[in-house]
């Protein structure tokens, strides 16, 4: 027995024994709890003044004795010249926690067990904060277990409310402390510190006074301090909360209307149906586009949002005009507001917490003061949900909602979704401690009227927060990118030969209808390291002085036949997704990077478009053929550029590329003349360490002439194909359009430019817009033009795929490209729309009949709808990936001081754009350098200027910012933090 640790076992039965029986109702069920209580006398008072207690102190299992906490010389105030120990009531911690945490006040506090238990039941995050305080050495907070000490235990009288009992217990503990300390120092000259009960409950204070206990309310108490004003400010705010707590019902949210009522409403025009979108800056504000209004309808506040989650198809009803609001000018984040909410639902909840309500009231006040300019907009409330758009959500557990001591027991915790627009989700789990600090996936199950937050369940964990694997998977899930491996059924559709597949000899039936272009000098130009080469080009001079130009596209449809599992899979995936370091393929690798890819030096099947073009870039004729080609070389943009620029290269291939370049310049000019827009979206490239592939730097992408060379011919091919398939299938051609944005979309930007820079933006046609954008320059600031272009891009609609039968011909127009008709044909390896276009074109040239599926308008519409979504998600995912890597690069670099431009002004912050990293971010008033805490910020909405103290921050202004990667203490989440300098 020698090597085992010896333990002292105390079998002495302790003094008293009381039994407790109570009933607790949870979810309408009664649970009986019977519990023993052992009353003891060895719980110390923990005051350094008390000798007997020091002698009695009991060591814990590891033989350590807790040091005594309460100082022998507690702080003195005017009211308590001998010093005092504070004994606060529960309501003090509930509403004034901030002030309790203040460094300069509130020392030597006795936290009673009664108070601590009550606090834990009311708010776990507050409880955790209080426990944090008891661990802090200089605050000297001591937890006294009065309910286990024989002298201070208080039995609940029959008929007495639990609150009254608790109040009585607090008073009993105060009395005991007073007499105990007096006994302890009896005989010595030490002055006994006063025991002061702190409460805001008037009844409790009165009873205490009658009992002769020293007591005070928090306002009076604080007045004794030097910095009373500051403390009082903190208190008054919190107490207002308390007073405002009233009128709770069991049902937090209004009931949804019945389906028939909604249908009648929609038909009669009193209700509207649309997709609900939440503002990324303010989670309490949503918008809905409905056909009946030009501008989106606004939905403000939790009650009006009524359990709708962004993306849901909802029915709304307009509010009376006097309740109309204008869109928020404030940044409101849920994490900041709801941090003290309790995950467990025991008590009734309030639908809007006080902080949230205050945020809304500010809004309301502002909109009423607002002049005619800032007119309120139609505001609505959600009355029903047609279809939920719930999916799997990725996020992390709010650590403050986790009860740490809980072992394997089940508990309710909050999940903070990555997407700021999604509300917190309540989850019941038995493994809270294990999944805290991980990226996890959850799914929402229900959202009842009685619950402030939706209820969901844990699905799985992706791994530790911050790790590359977990974060990448998280963003793929968040944007619904289907990254799982291709199933067996799909693999069975691949050609049997695998990587050994070659172009068959000419007598093979697969050559039927195919043209042999293997002698043409074809090459491909792509970004460096590109493996899935969709397109290749060639050009030669014809004897008649014109040029023959060919665009050859990978013949994906030769391998992917309609209505096979592989085709279904590709339809569902819709597009290949490019992340910074990864590519999520639409088609299996065998096809994407080998058999279809127009790799150099090998023969491949292709779909070719051949034009005869005059030297002035006018098109004489066009023909389409299935073909076989052999690419002579695969260039990167840079290599191609060098080759063209190198005068010593006079071989035919290079000559061909020079022809292409000349022609492309002319084509581009023509397009610009027709009013094509040159829009900007920030694009950056991540420089990675070649060995570890950790990101180390961020560079903006450089554009070369060869980029536009390829682009022009791809546009040309797409337009030619679009015309051809529309001719052949007027009802069912797969086309792409870009609607002209309504003029109202530009209103804000026009006004902002007018006010801030005296510039005017003409938006009546794309040509006018293109021209006026060119004029938007600031001679001192070259980037200003790009900024305006970025902002203008955001005012536009997004381009979309559609089926020709669903729109009238004028609607086909591609606004941005200024083309009457357009489709996607040139990237069938990575876009499904192109696959459809290929099949339609093949049918149009009588190569093979079109599968009946693509004759069906409804089927095509469904395809278009899906690929539009996938396309958008792919873009978002790509951007999110860049953002993550920018963050990682910043982490590697520490912090950076950069120039930034103000993009948006709110009443409590600004949004800036950092061109160097291509990121934008929110800077709240509190995060600006040289701004005193609590200094009021004022927004001049006419001039788009936010004034903070001395500082004036105007829209479009250049500012200096500090960008760094920061760990948020509370949530354990890393994010890019932007701070304003000077």
């Amino acid at each position: 027995m020698t090597s085992l640790k010896r333990a002292i076992v105390d079998t002495s039965t302790d003094s008293g024994l009381a039994n407790k029986v109570f009933l607790r109702s949870s979810r309408g069920k009664c649970v009986k709890v019977v519990r023993e209580i052992y009353l003891r006398q060895d719980i110390p008072c923990s005051s350094h003044l008390c000798v007997p207690c020091t002698a009695d102190a009991v060591p814990d299992a590891n033989g350590r004795v807790k040091p005594f906490i309460l100082s022998a010389t507690p702080p003195k105030t005017s009211a308590y010249p001998n010093g005092h120990y504070l004994v606060p009531d529960t309501n003090i911690f509930l509403y004034c926690m901030d002030v309790m945490e203040h460094k300069s006040a509130f020392h030597d506090v006795v936290v009673l067990q009664t108070v601590l238990d009550e606090l834990r039941n009311r708010s776990l995050p507050l409880y955790n904060r209080l426990r944090g305080l008891t661990n802090s050495e200089d605050k000297r907070f001591y937890v006294f277990h009065n309910d286990f000490r024989k002298e201070t235990y208080v039995k609940r009288y029959p008929g007495e409310s639990i609150n009254d009992r608790n109040d009585r217990a607090i008073r009993a503990a105060c009395r005991w402390y007073t007499s105990h300390l007096q006994e302890a120092v009896a005989g010595s000259k030490t002055k006994v510190p006063m025991i002061v009960m702190l409460s805001d409950d008037k009844a409790n204070l009165n009873l205490a006074r009658n009992d002769g206990i020293e007591c005070t309310n928090i306002r009076d108490y604080v007045k004794g301090f030097d910095n009373a004003d500051e403390l009082l400010d903190m208190i008054s705010a919190s107490l207002e909360d308390q007073e405002a707590r009233a009128g709770r019902g069991d049902m937090l949210y209004p009931e949804y209307y019945s389906m028939s009522k909604m249908q009648t409403g929609i038909r009669s025009g009193t209700m509207h149906q649309g997709t609900f979108n939440v503002s990324p800056y303010n989670f309490l504000e949503g918008t809905i586009h409905v056909p009946a209004f030009d501008r989106p309808l606004i939905v403000l506040g939790r009650e009006n949002i009524n359990r709708a989650v962004t993306g849901d198809l909802v029915v709304v009803e307009l509010l009376p005009k006097d309740q109309w609001k204008q869109p928020s000018s404030k940044i409101v984040e849920e994490e900041a507001l709801g941090k003290n909410d309790n995950a467990e639902t025991e008590g009734p909840e309030v639908i809007e917490t006080e902080q949230e309500r205050r945020a809304l009231i500010d809004e309301a006040k502002r909109s009423q003061q607002g002049s005619a300019e800032g007119r309120p907009q139609p505001t609505a409330k959600v009355v029903g949900i047609i279809k939920r758009n719930w999916r799997y959500y990725v996020g992390h557990i709010d650590p403050s909602s986790v009860a740490k001591s809980k072992g394997r027991g089940q508990q309710t915790v909050f999940l903070l979704p990555m997407d700021k627009r999604i509300p917190k989700i309540r989850i019941r789990t038995r493994q809270a401690s294990e999944i805290t600090g991980k990226r996890i996936v959850v799914s929402i199950d229900t959202w009842d009227r009685t619950s402030r937050y939706p209820v969901g369940h844990y699905v799985r964990s992706l791994g530790e927060l911050e790790t590359k694997g977990a974060e990448t998977e998280a963003l793929l899930l968040e944007y619904d990118v289907q990254y799982r491996p291709f199933p067996k059924a799909v693999l069975d559709c691949l050609p049997r030969e695998g990587h050994d597949w070659v172009v068959p000899p000419m007598d093979d039936p697969r050559w039927k209808g195919r043209v042999d272009y293997r002698d043409k000098l074809i090459c491909s130009i792509d970004p460096p390291g590109c493996q899935d080469i969709d397109d290749a080009l060639h050009a030669t001079l014809l004897p008649n002085g014109n040029y023959e130009v060919g665009v050859h596209i990978a013949d994906v449809t030769h391998f992917v036949k309609p209505n096979t599992p592989m085709d279904d899979e590709a339809t569902a995936r819709g597009t290949t997704v490019y992340l910074v370091d990864k590519r999520i393929d639409m088609l299996p690798m065998l096809l994407g990077t080998d058999l279809c890819s127009l790799k150099p030096y090998v023969e491949r099947f292709a779909f070719s478009t051949i034009w005869e073009i005059t030297p002035d870039a006018d098109i004489i004729s066009v023909k389409f053929n299935k073909s076989a080609i052999k690419s002579r070389e695969a260039f990167s943009y840079e290599q191609a550029q060098l080759r063209i620029d190198d005068k010593s290269q006079q071989d035919e291939l290079t000559q061909g590329m020079r022809i292409l370049l000349q022609l492309s310049k002319k084509l581009k000019q023509k397009r610009m003349d027709a009013g094509a827009l040159n829009l900007a979206s920030p694009e950056v490239r991540i420089e990675a360490d070649s060995e570890t592939s950790d990101p180390i730097d961020v560079k903006t992408k450089q554009l070369l002439e060869t980029n536009s060379l390829v682009e022009e011919f791809m546009l040309l091919a797409n337009i030619s194909v679009a015309t051809k398939i529309y001719d052949a299938f007027p009802q069912t051609a797969m086309l792409r359009r870009h609607g002209a944005p309504p003029a109202t979309n530009f209103e804000d930007l026009q006004k902002q430019l007018q006010v801030r820079k005296g510039l005017s933006l003409r938006v009546d046609s794309s040509k006018a817009l293109a021209d006026s954008l060119d004029e938007c320059v600031d001679s001192k600031e070259p980037f200003f033009n790009t900024l305006v272009r970025i902002l203008a891009t955001r005012c536009m609609l997004s381009a979309e795929y559609f089926c020709s039968g669903t729109q009238a011909y004028p609607e086909f127009r591609h606004y941005g490209l200024a083309s009457e008709i357009y489709t996607h044909f040139t990237s069938p390896i990575r876009r499904y729309a192109d696959v459809v276009a290929h099949r339609q074109l093949a049918a149009a040239i009588d190569y093979e009949p079109l599968h009946p599926m693509f004759h069906s308008k409804s089927k095509l519409e469904a395809i278009c709808k899906n690929i539009n979504v996938r396309h958008r998600n792919a873009q978002f995912a790509g951007r999110a990936s860049v953002e993550y890597y920018v963050g990682q690069a910043l982490k590697a670099r520490g912090m950076a001081q950069e120039e930034a431009f103000v993009m948006k002004v709110f009443s409590n912050g600004i949004v800036v754009f950092v061109p160097r990293f291509g990121i934008e971010g929110v800077v709240k008033v509190g995060e600006m350098m040289g701004v005193q805490n609590g200094e009021k910020a004022e927004l001049d909405e006419e001039k788009f200027v936010l004034s903070v103290g001395e500082r004036r921050l105007g829209l479009f202004e250049k500012v200096k910012v500090e960008v760094k990667d920061e760990l948020e203490e509370a949530s354990g989440k890393r994010k890019i933090a932007i701070k304003l300098l000077d």
Partner: protein, 292 residues
């Protein structure tokens, strides 16, 4: 009830004498396992374990059911054990003997109660639909130490198993067939491995992985379940030779070494099986996520 015959007095004396001399009948060291074999079936979730002559097969399957009303956020995991006459004539069909109950409870405690399988991730729609994962354990041949063999089989089968993928869109749930979507593995939180120690008469000898004969002759046994993270999932020792706590603790440390070995062995076999499948089904091509 047909009863297993006890070894004869001669046999008994011989075995015990040799054990006291530090020898085992099959030539093993006292703290050595018999050769362990693990094979996987064609389908996912079938594991065949041989420990010397003891042979156990575990089959894992999954179906969609309604969760228990008191645990709406959890899936269901059940283990059923079947000891039939096939394993040994001493077992009868359809009647649970005490030994059988103890065995079933041991496996259950080792794997289910220690939450080796993350049942929360089996939830599809809370309170309505969840996966029920079922592990059927069949004992094919009984030559001692069935607990260990069964535990290894179940744990290996669980890790080998793939369940069909599920997707949620709005409020509708789709279960995809195995060919339509690549099935997903279960979320295994830790891998518990049982260790049976037999303490022999007069508290002289402690041996690991007892054969049937040794089991019949031993005077008390102890089973410890641990995972490779050094967590003890279960200890059970009831009756038998009273042991010195220090010796017990030493045995547990010894068991921990064995647990790490066996866990590594299972992982190795799983990997081999995976590689075999990749080759057979041309799965290399199935990767949708590729380096740029």
């Amino acid at each position: 009830m047909p009863k297993e015959l006890d070894p004869s007095t001669n046999e008994k004396n011989f075995i015990l004498e040799s054990l006291y001399a530090g020898e085992r009948l099959d030539g093993r060291e006292l703290d050595a396992f018999r050769p362990l074999e693990l094979e996987f079936g064609e389908e996912y979730g079938l594991a065949d374990v041989r420990l010397g002559k003891t042979r156990v097969i575990a089959r894992v399957s999954a179906q969609v059911v309604q969760p228990f009303s008191d645990r709406p956020f959890d899936g269901i995991f059940t283990i059923t054990t079947e000891l039939g006459p096939m394993a040994s004539p001493g077992f009868e069909v359809g009647r649970q003997t005490e030994a059988e109950v103890l065995l079933a409870r041991l496996i259950e405690k080792s794997i289910r109660r220690s939450t080796a399988l993350d049942t929360e991730s089996l939830c599809i729609v809370a309170g309505q639909k969840c996966w029920q994962v079922r592990a059927d354990v069949h004992f094919l041949n009984h030559d001692g130490n069935m607990v260990d063999a069964a535990c290894i089989a179940v744990v290996a089968a669980l890790q080998h198993f793939r369940r069909p993928d599920v997707s949620i869109e709005g409020e509708t749930v789709t279960v995809h067939s195995m060919t339509e979507r690549v099935p997903v593995p279960l979320s295994i939180l830790h891998v518990p491995i049982c260790e049976g120690d037999g303490g022999d008469e007069a508290n002289v000898v402690t041996l690991i992985d007892a054969t049937l004969q040794e089991e019949q002759l031993r005077d008390g046994d102890m089973t410890v379940t641990m995972n490779k993270h050094g967590e003890v999932c279960q200890i059970s020792k009831a009756g038998g030779v009273p042991l010195d706590p220090i010796a017990m603790h030493r045995d547990m440390n010894l068991a921990f070494v064995k647990v790490k070995e066996i866990t590594a062995f299972i992982a190795k076999r799983l990997k081999e099986d995976e590689e075999k499948r990749v080759k057979r089904d041309n799965l290399l091509e199935s990767k949708a996520e590729n380096e740029r």
